[in-house]
């Protein structure tokens, strides 16, 4: 092996230009591979982060009411029907127990009880329907990322406080500090003071959503004994599907993970992933074709040398290894050049492609360049590419090569 390596190295060094081009070619393939990985993975992380930052990772809700089967009085007639109990808002009753169960799990970073319902805000003659969300003031930021969206006032939710959207405020011509009356669809009523006004940029949200103190909303919505849902944030996103299944069993409630609620996002990420894989696949194919054709040319050029080596008693295996080792060396060097180039390039793109406000144009992430995979694939590809030329070389007829 040692001597084969020596011959391989001599061959590579003897045509420095060709070798440099080959290493450069493999390098570009690896660069494309790693750059695409950094871009696709960075984009996926960015999208998940954007989504997951504002939504619960797991949500626990009351069970949906299921159809009940009504037996006829004579015992023969069976009439399936959905009986909706409209007099009672669906709620989690023994919610403290559920909360304790959930919080006992090590994966759970935070579990927030939330009450939610519908109501109206009246001011003078104007009436506006709102969707009320009640949370503990210190947990508001976990339920809704409205902190950065506040355009006026604060996010302090005392018992008499309310935070509303900018469109609603405009419709009611109301400002921070002013008082209004909120009524729930359960008949509750309360005077509240506007503490803050947010603008998320989504019309329906800015017009319809109002945040209130947990206790105040609970009373307003007639939810004395229960809550509407528990929103959970996890330490590790990946465990969400498994954990939600386990919570469903332990609580007997309806438990949904963020993955189920964001199927479209996942489809989109997967789509991006497949596009990226295709590009990466072709970058590897390019490496194989390039290395293979260059080494094939070398075998033709070195035919008489191969012939003389065979006549001196070098085995076919020896000749084979000389060429495979060239492939391995080209692959390793190309991978080293390409992966370090990719890291430098993605880092540069990340630093340069920044908008004035500091946000990034490309959500590229240099740390997600899949360098190990790129290096290994390129080395394997380059080695595989050498197999064909190596076989051709080992089959050179020494006599034909010598007498030419």
């Amino acid at each position: 092996m040692r001597y084969e390596a020596k011959v391989a190295l001599r061959y590579l060094l003897s045509s420095k230009m060709q070798t440099a081009l080959l290493i450069g070619g493999v390098g570009v393939g690896v660069l494309v591979f790693c750059f695409m990985s950094a871009l696709i993975n960075g984009l996926a992380s960015y999208q998940i982060e954007q989504t997951v930052g504002s939504i619960p990772h797991i949500t626990i809700e009351p069970r949906e009411q299921t159809p009940k089967v009504l037996g006829g009085t004579d015992g023969t007639l069976i009439l399936p029907a959905i009986l909706r109990d409209n007099t009672q808002r669906s709620q989690i009753r023994a919610w403290q127990t559920v909360l304790d169960t959930v919080l006992a799990d090590d994966n759970v970073r935070l579990a927030v009880p939330v009450v939610a319902g519908n109501g109206f805000i009246t001011r003078g003659q104007a009436v506006q329907p709102v969707s009320i969300t009640g949370v503990n003031p210190e947990q508001l930021s976990e339920v809704a990322a409205i902190g950065p969206a506040i355009i006026k006032g604060t996010t302090d939710l005392d018992l008499n406080g309310i935070i509303i959207g900018s469109r609603l405020a405009r419709n009611l011509s109301i400002d921070v500090g002013q008082t209004l009356v909120i009524r729930s669809d359960r008949g509750g009523q309360r005077d509240v003071k506007v503490r803050g006004i947010f603008s998320i940029g989504v019309e329906s949200l800015d017009e319809r959503v109002a945040y209130m103190n947990f206790k105040a909303a609970k009373a307003l919505l007639n939810l004395d004994n229960g809550i509407s849902r528990i929103e959970i944030k996890l330490k590790d996103l990946d465990v969400a599907p498994a954990l939600s299944a386990s919570f469903a069993v332990s609580t007997g409630l309806k438990v949904t993970s963020w993955v189920e609620k964001n199927k479209r996002l996942f489809d989109a990420i997967q789509g991006q992933g497949s596009t990226g894989s295709l590009i990466k696949f072709f970058s590897i194919v390019t490496i194989i074709i390039g290395v293979s054709s260059a080494l094939l040319l070398t075998t033709v050029r070195r035919k008489s040398e191969i012939g003389i080596m065979r006549s001196m008693g070098m085995t076919k295996g020896f000749i084979n290894r000389v060429f495979v080792i060239q492939g391995v060396l080209i692959g390793l060097l190309g991978a080293a050049v390409g992966s370090s180039g990719a890291f430098a390039f993605t880092t540069l793109v990340m630093q340069l492609a920044v908008r004035a406000d500091g946000s990034r144009v490309f959500p590229i992430d240099p740390s997600q360049g899949a360098y190990v995979a790129g290096i290994m694939l390129a080395t394997v590809a380059s080695t595989v590419a050498a197999i064909l030329p190596a076989r051709a070389a080992s089959r050179v007829d020494p006599l034909e090569a010598i007498s030419q």
């Binding site: 001597y3 084969e4 011959v7 001599r10 061959y11 060094l13 003897s14 008489s304 040398e305 012939g307 003389i308 080596m309 065979r310 006549s311 001196m312 008693g313 070098m314 085995t315 076919k316 020896f318 020494p398 006599l399 010598i402 007498s403």
Partner: protein, 253 residues
Amino acid sequence: MTTTIEKPTEKVAERAPLLSVAGLTKNYVIGDLVTPVLKGIDFDIYPGEFVAMLGPSGSGKSTLLSILGTLLKPTAGHFFMLGNDLTEADERELTKFRNRNIGFVFQYHHLLPDFTALENVMFPAVASKLMDDVEAEVRATMLLNRVGLGHRLNYRATKLSGGQKQRVALARALMNNPALVLADEPTGNLDRESAHQVMELLAEINAESGTTFLISTHDPEIAKRCQRKITIIDGKVDSIETNPTVKQDVAAA
């Protein structure tokens, strides 16, 4: 500086033929066309002999040397070397046999251009792990000194003159101390002066070391120096002559 290659005494003592060729034929087949080139060749060569093979162009000398060098399969017949029927051996065995027992010198030197003279000579020994680096370097240096290239050890093969290249090729052929050196028109590409030098070396090394040589040539000067001349005409042995002017110290014929 001249170095003498010591004699492997066991080869000299041997009385049995080193190489025995029996009824060897070769047909080249191209499509439907069968060209008989060798039509039944028989001769023996004894250890330590210095034999010339003569014959007009196209008579089949190169074809015969290729077969004896195990680079080409005969159509029929057998040949034996060191007691082995090489027509029966498989590819692996032949590769190893070539490495250990046969040295080649061709009309063209066929040196590896990316290696130095020393590395070229060491190659057959180190690449096949027959010798370690130190042992091989000592022997290769000795051989290059012997062919008068002690001052060109670390020259790239491409930087040497034609005659020098051929002398490196000769040293390489001798590296593994082969039982038989097959030389196909070894001086065919050289100017008179270089050809003479190479010729002298072949004869001297044969005399010093007892290495057996079979040399195909058109050069009457070479033929004069040989102990025996085998003349091939039209694929057959036309005559085998013993040269009375050359000292017959080892030949048994």
